[in-house]
């Protein structure tokens, strides 16, 4: 099943790589990825889509929340 995740990220050196690297290291393929500045220049919004079952998605969301630069992870299509 296709899922969309919306991630708020602090603009730190290497922060994007750490998110992308986490998904790769845990066996997820990112299908689409958009990164854009928010009203706060210190924060970016990262929107990505990926496929996976509910358990896999729950796990990758939890793991993403452990990244120090990550402010928030939302899964709007699943709300």
């Amino acid at each position: 099943m296709q899922h969309t995740l919306s991630i708020l990220l602090q603009n730190e050196a290497g922060a994007l790589v750490r998110v992308a690297g986490l998904f790769a290291a845990r066996g997820h393929n990112i299908d689409t990825l958009t990164v854009a500045a928010t009203a706060d220049p210190a924060v970016s919004r990262l929107t990505l889509t990926l496929r996976g079952d509910d358990a896999a998605l729950t796990q990758i969301v939890q793991q993403t929340r452990k990244l120090v630069d990550v402010l928030q992870v939302e899964h709007p299509t699943h709300a």
Binding site: A13, G14, V17, A55, R65, K66, V68
Partner: protein, 622 residues
């Protein structure tokens, strides 16, 4: 660097404690060292090089200016043979002390040699701060000499990595690194500091950390989480329905400082306890209710208790593949699985819990103990206790006691007789690691130091060195294998350089014993590159060459007891190689893809049911 002296501003504002160096101009390197001093760091492990020289010079000056009354340095810098050694020394220090271990290395190869200890420490939740020199900011990305993209490399294996490109952030970043390393689920934090930042003059603030709003908000929520009455009630109602409840305790008991709370809980309600490899020492292995280790090479009685339990309480444990190889068949009779962990990502990751709590383990256990006592939940577990005692008696660890060859288990039993669960023991990885976990007792946490998740051969010797710096007066023993110790054999010299009274045991079975065990089972005994009988290494002469005054090889079993006694009593570094039965195996063994009921117990531990023949190479499990 200026000497510490209290500032007049601090004197003028009673009640507000200010850092005595607040407002002072310092170099970035001095700031790094001052924050280390403020964090209480009392030893550093590292190897120098071009890009870290300013920090090394600052450490040198700090030590020269703050020499202690006994003439010792406040922050000695211990130099390994290889940066990987420094990383495992810092990890051994952290594992033995519970404090943050600190390693300081140079850019490029210095930093990449730290990758293995950093990943190892993430996997075992060990708090480290690793400071790496980096080429100057203007040279980053130019393929400069000794340049490596450490932020990228470490980003995928550390808890967090900082690349400091703004000198004004250095002080706060250093302090924050310690906070991240030790908070929540602990882990290693890498701070990559370009050389020009180390040389920049800046004003020392003496306080302040990075904001990290996301991390801190999540951390606060977890640290403040408490069990509501309703949660406690659900827990105890399920527990009081259980007839065979079992605690499965992991490394979180050790990391979370929850051993005393666990003991109090067990004293109150009487649940038997089995621990993971990382949890060993979290519950006194000599206690009547202790079942020692469970899992792939767990004791038969622990694994049978897991098979039989109807209620499983997982504490700071994560159902990893060495424990729950087949998660659906793990604890198959457990009608209720309760799970407490500090990491939300571990709940329901492998095994669905019927009840869970995310928060500090010691507080959760104290709360449950109080609630259960207050509400008079008493369990009648005498049948279960009798059952567990019978399992321990009928399926006790055992081996070929009549063999003419020296059995590794006998060596460990002899060491155990002297150590009595009080020695700090590090290990390499493989058969000797499992034998040490099975045959040694551990009465308290932070006494077994072993690479649990990553399984890094070469861990034992440097980890023991780091542990001896954490516990200068303790008996520290490295139980190693001939193949494992080779990986970081250069650190033998580090032991004698610093005059550490380490005791190093090499159980020599002339090869990679665990690999051979798997090759026997699954590859028809084709010992592809695991046999080392053509290797020419003379370990005793190697140890002597590195300055060991006591270095012996034991080949006769009738000399075992006397040799071990003399070895452990030696006042100084000692090295003992024991030529063991090369065919000695690690039993019990729950084969890859098998469940606990299919456990092989070997020829000397009675099994409950006859094991089925191993289905060779039928699995991708490892």
């Amino acid at each position: 660097m200026p000497l510490l002296k209290s500032s007049s501003a601090a004197d003028a504002e009673p009640g507000i404690s200010r850092h005595p160096l607040t407002g002072t101009s310092l170099s970035g390197a001095d700031v790094v060292v001052q924050v280390l001093a403020d964090e209480g760091v009392d030893v550093l492990f590292g190897y120098s090089g071009g890009a870290i020289l300013p920090v090394y010079d600052a450490v040198f000056r700090h030590n020269a200016e703050h020499i202690k009354p006994d003439g010792s340095e406040p922050m000695p810098l211990i130099v390994p043979a290889n940066e990987q050694g420094a990383g495992f020394m810092a990890a051994g220090y952290a594992r033995a002390s519970g404090k943050v271990g600190v390693a300081v290395v140079t850019s490029g190869p210095g930093a990449t040699n730290m990758v293995t200890p950093v990943r190892d420490s993430t996997a075992d939740s060990i708090p480290l701060v690793v400071i790496c020199g980096q080429v100057a900011t203007q040279a980053i990305g130019s393929d400069a000499f000794q340049e490596a993209p450490i932020s990228n490399i470490m980003g995928s294996c550390a808890k967090h990595v900082f690349l400091v490109t703004d000198a004004s952030q250095l002080e706060a970043t250093m302090r924050t690194a310690f906070t991240i390393a030790r908070s929540g689920r602990p882990g290693p934090v890498v701070v990559d500091i370009p050389k020009d930042i180390q040389n920049t003059t800046m004003t020392f603030k003496g306080e302040g950390e990075l904001a990290l709003p996301g991390y801190r908000a999540r951390l606060r929520a977890i640290e403040q989480a408490s069990l509501a009455d309703e949660d406690c009630k659900l827990f105890f109602e399920a527990l009081s329905r259980a007839k065979r409840p079992l605690i499965y305790a992991g490394g979180g008991v050790v990391a979370g400082g929850a051993a005393a709370a666990l003991k109090a809980f067990v004293d109150a309600f009487g649940l038997p306890v089995t621990t993971t490899l990382m949890g060993i020492g979290g519950y006194d292995t000599t206690d009547a209710l202790a079942l020692h280790m469970l899992g792939m090479h767990g004791t038969a009685y622990a694994n049978y208790a897991v098979e039989d339990c109807d209620f499983l309480l997982a504490l700071g444990a994560r159902f990893d593949d060495r424990v729950a190889g087949v998660p659906t068949q793990f604890a198959p009779r457990a009608k209720f699985v309760a799970h407490i962990d500090i990491d939300p990502a571990e709940i329901n990751k492998v095994k669905q819990a019927h009840w869970h709590h995310i928060g500090p383990l010691d507080r959760a256990l104290q709360r449950l103990t109080r609630f259960g006592k207050t509400h008079d939940y008493s369990l009648s577990l005498s049948d279960w206790h009798a059952h567990v005692a019978a399992l321990k008696r009928d399926h006790a660890m055992n081996y070929d006691r009549d063999s003419a060859l020296i059995q590794p288990y006998a060596v460990l039993e002899e060491i155990n007789r002297h150590a009595q669960g009080r020695a700090i023991v590090s290990t390499g990885v493989g058969q000797h690691q499992m034998w040490a976990a099975q045959y040694l007792d551990f009465c308290a946490p932070r006494h077994l130091l072993t690479s649990g998740s990553m399984g890094t051969m070469g861990f034992g010797l440097p980890a023991a060195i780091g542990a001896q710096f954490a516990r200068r007066d303790a008996l520290v023993i490295d139980i190693d294998g001939d193949a494992s110790i080779r990986m970081n054999l250069g650190e033998l010299e580090t032991v004698t350089t610093y005059g550490l009274p380490l005791k190093i045991v090499v159980l020599n079975n002339v090869g990679d014993g665990m690999v051979r065990q798997w090759q026997k089972l699954f590859f028809k005994g084709r010992f592809a590159s695991s046999d080392k009988s053509l290797h020419r290494k003379d370990f005793v002469r190697a140890a002597e060459a590195d300055g060991f005054a006591w270095a012996r090889r034991l080949e006769q079993r009738d000399e075992l007891a006397a040799t071990i006694a003399e070895f452990l009593a030696f006042d100084g570094p000692a090295f003992l190689e024991v030529m063991i039965d090369p065919d000695a195996g690690v039993y019990p063994m729950v084969g890859p893809g098998a469940n606990y009921a299919q456990m092989i117990t070997g020829d000397f531990i009675p099994a409950r049911t006859a094991p089925k023949a191993a289905d060779a190479a039928a699995t991708d499990m490892f």
